[in-house]
């Protein structure tokens, strides 16, 4: 879906939830279009971080907004409209990912640090290169890290994206995923630990 980019309209369009919601529930044609114009860009940005291709991300956003329109009567207004749309988009992405999962996920346990019986690290952590892998361009480094993030099990990767990249706080992430605050904190910490383990081979300083 190529074409001119439409800037997100004034956030007030979707922050004034009550008015917009009333117009949407009254099936006012212009209200649907306003919501699409105002929200699609933000939702696409989220979907791009979860989906392997641009087309998959756009499909997920379309599914999400259509699903939201069908479910308007079930939106109870306790969360912001934007949070609710975010949640539906994440769920649309997760459903698509599950339907097209290509390979078994890595075991999380194998990516977490191991400890000996007295609680100390089994293998001491060596320092990382301050500048990253030698001779690697910035774009290559980003691609490398992205590929390792894609190896994380889905439930951990999603939390990493929402918290560390999208900038949602713990409460917002818990609301989007329908899990507890402790679950968000645990998954985020494990996701970061696992990603560190996956990056160790590229960043650990040589002994030589």
């Amino acid at each position: 879906m190529e074409g001119t980019l439409i800037p997100m309209q004034d956030a007030a369009v979707i922050t004034d939830d009550a008015k917009l919601l009333a117009r949407l529930r009254a099936r006012e044609e212009a209200a649907f279009d306003e919501l699409v114009d105002a929200a699609a860009g933000r939702l696409l940005s989220v979907a791009r971080k979860m989906m392997p291709t641009e087309a998959d991300a756009e499909d997920a956003v379309q599914d999400a907004l259509l699903s939201a329109f069908r479910s308007l009567d079930r939106f109870d207004g306790r969360s912001k409209l934007t949070t609710w749309l975010h949640q539906i988009t994440v769920n649309a992405c997760l459903m698509k990912l599950r339907s097209k999962r290509r390979r078994p996920e890595k075991s999380m346990d194998a990516l977490l640090p191991e400890f000996v019986s007295d609680g100390h690290q089994k293998t001491p952590q060596k320092p990382w290169h301050a500048d990253g892998p030698a001779g690697i361009e910035q774009a290559e480094l980003r691609a490398l890290v992205r590929s390792r993030i894609e190896e994380l099990p889905e439930q951990y990767r999603v939390v990493l994206v929402l918290r560390d990249v999208e900038g949602l706080d713990t409460e917002e992430t818990a609301a989007v995923l329908g899990v507890t605050l402790d679950t968000v904190r645990t998954r985020l910490h494990r996701a970061r630990q696992a990603l560190k383990t996956l990056l160790d081979p590229y960043f650990v300083e040589d002994d030589s």
Partner: protein, 88 residues
């Protein structure tokens, strides 16, 4: 590390996320920082963990895609048309 007054590496690593979010209470923070004074491995682990968070943000930051808040016109039209066709 043989002094039992020190927290273990396992405890320190469990605390890292809370440490970075400044969620440790004064006693936990003291224990955390005290462990770091005697454990180079955990100093390295904490530094690598911090860097990992930074690398993750950079890797997925929107530099190769339209800025946040922008959507292709074709996508907007497709969603609006799909809604009308589905009569939702």
């Amino acid at each position: 590390m043989t002094n039992n007054d020190y927290i273990t590496c396992r405890e320190l690593i469990d605390f890292i996320a809370d440490y970075l979010e400044q969620r440790l209470d004064a006693e936990q923070l003291r224990d955390f920082e005290r462990h770091l004074t005697v454990c180079p491995s955990c100093v390295n682990y904490l530094a690598a963990y911090r860097r990992t968070v930074q690398l993750g943000k950079q890797a997925l930051a929107p530099t190769e895609e339209p800025a946040t808040g922008l959507a292709p016109e074709g996508l907007l039209k497709a969603i609006k048309a799909a809604r009308r066709n589905a009569a939702v």
